[in-house]
Subunit: 327 residues, 2 copies
């Protein structure tokens, strides 16, 4: 593959070149990895800084409808929108949350939108790196907004939040016993909570749910990167396309404040450092997957569970297998 040519086409916003490049970064083949690294290196600093929006929501909250309505609103304003997905379950299920483009029929036919199905990957570490690389390629291809969707399996929200400028949590209305629905830790990552389906019979339930989450958000310690009033909860109806303009304005207010105060750049720098350390950690911890260490881990985990050995003594034995001296 001619990397220089691919680079030029991406910078000219050629969609087929972008698709080919994303396929390249998704490949696990060693020669592809080298080409991908080279391509990303030649593209570093090129293109534009898109607004990276992370979006989490469990199945049933209307995520596809929201992305379609929200995306169409943005493209109608002349913005170019890319949609990516982090779906660590796709390797197991064989499917992919964005594989079925009919979910977003209008948006997928919009020339200013680019929807990329999630790749099938075996581990989240790989998914994270490849998604970050796909985001970088979309930025090189001049997209204004990159939406990164996740269904929230395992640690995938953290992965998405750590590569986004803005993190949205989409919820459905709920009442009484139906509450208790938010996975621990997510509420605290959200910059804006959107209670969807604020239409028809569910409208008042959506408003109550929104008030509940507004109250809960007020109990959290204020983050230095937030202006007054953030994080916030609000209602939208993706179906009726209500509240999307207001939500977009609130996102822009937050982002403009962060740009002016330096928190935008600071966050991007922190994220780059996070991923650097995370990739180093994952690389080092991969030592534990080697034959002898893996066998010792499995054997001793059982002994620890049975109370036959203390966790500390068992850990020392595993480290001894790796010739690492315990403290």
């Amino acid at each position: 593959m001619d990397i220089a040519q691919l680079r030029d086409k991406i910078l000219k916003q050629d969609r087929r070149a972008l698709a080919r490049a994303i396929t390249l970064v998704e490949s696990a083949r060693e020669d592809h990895r080298h080409q991908a690294s080279h391509l990303l290196e030649t593209l570093r600093g090129a293109g534009k800084q898109a607004l990276r929006i992370g979006l989490s929501g469990t199945p049933g909250v209307g995520k596809s409808t929201f992305i379609e309505s929200f995306g169409m609103m943005l493209t109608a304003q002349g913005l170019r929108v890319a949609v990516l997905a982090v779906d660590p379950s796709s390797a197991r299920s064989g499917g992919s949350i964005l594989g079925d483009k009919t979910r977003m029929d209008r948006l997928s036919r919009d020339p200013n939108a680019y929807i990329r199905p999630s790749p099938s990957q075996t581990h989240l570490g790989g998914v994270a790196r490849r998604t970050r690389e796909a985001v970088a390629l979309c930025e090189a291809a001049g997209f204004d907004v990159v939406l990164i969707e996740t269904v929230g399996v395992g640690q995938s929200e953290t992965v998405v939040a750590e590569m986004s400028d803005l993190f949205l949590l989409l919820l459905a209305p709920a009442g009484g016993d139906e509450l208790q629905g938010v996975k621990r830790g997510i509420m605290e990552m959200a910059d804006i909570i959107l209670v969807n389906k604020a239409d028809g019979d569910l409208k008042s339930a959506a408003m109550r749910t929104c008030a509940d989450y507004s109250g809960a958000l007020r109990l959290l310690r204020k983050r230095p990167q937030d202006p007054q009033g953030y994080p916030k909860a609000m209602t939208v109806s993706a179906l009726q396309e209500n509240g999307l303009e207001t939500a977009w304005q609130d996102m822009q207010t937050l982002i403009e404040w962060r740009r002016e105060t330096g928190h935008w750049a600071g966050r991007r720098t922190q994220q780059a450092q996070y991923w650097f350390h995370e990739e180093v950690r994952q690389g080092v911890l991969a030592l534990l997957e080697q034959g002898d260490a893996r066998a010792a881990l499995d054997r001793l985990e059982t002994s620890v569970a049975k109370g036959e050995i203390t966790p500390a003594a068992a850990a020392d034995q595993v480290l001894a297998v790796l010739n690492i001296r315990a403290d």
Copy 2:
């Protein structure tokens, strides 16, 4: 030191032997570590399973007053109570949160109570292991309740929660803009939130704060290890010794339910496995502290922050220094 003799004295609930044994597990000297391991091995399964209660609260919420009142109530019921502390800041500050026993004057003179100041340690990993070992020694010495206190610096709540059967979060009343006080992630670890200082002028503020947290807790996904109504928030006055009996009853209800459903034993097993894996991880990651790796990390972190290299390419370079092949 005669380990067999020390063991026998601990099992006979000799307080001086317990104190000597805790000093032994706190020592970083290699011969002491060996003796400590041997002692813990000979004590494994002896004594009783105490109720391990983790307690977090920022300075000013009345933590010492609560521990004293709550502890005195328990000893008045004939229970033997040990108080330990996880204070990762003590190494830096030179002090220790439990060093000043005058904070708990009555409890420290109670023959059924044992208060142990936090050791000065340099890193949280070491603090965690030594605190777990001190807990095991207190159980061997027949204590019924082990209270593990933390001020909540850095990751210390996670450390305490992962060695407790029950995790309490102590809060002070707050109103309006004073809210936003809870560190992200803690609310989600708490089994019971206690809003202290529900007395005098602060009583109504305490009740409002309690209602706010009750509402917020209902928004979290239900945990399988919780019966109906948990996690819960309630008001107490440690100063006036109000609400402590009710809080203790609610703790016992929760713990009895967990014992009957097997979640108590399951949680202890999971915690042992957590600490096993955590110690292995920390041991492996210590490779990064070695000279060449440390230097590469520091140098490349700066380059990543400046945008001179991608996080992935930088990580590959660090792993190359350690002769670890990147994926």
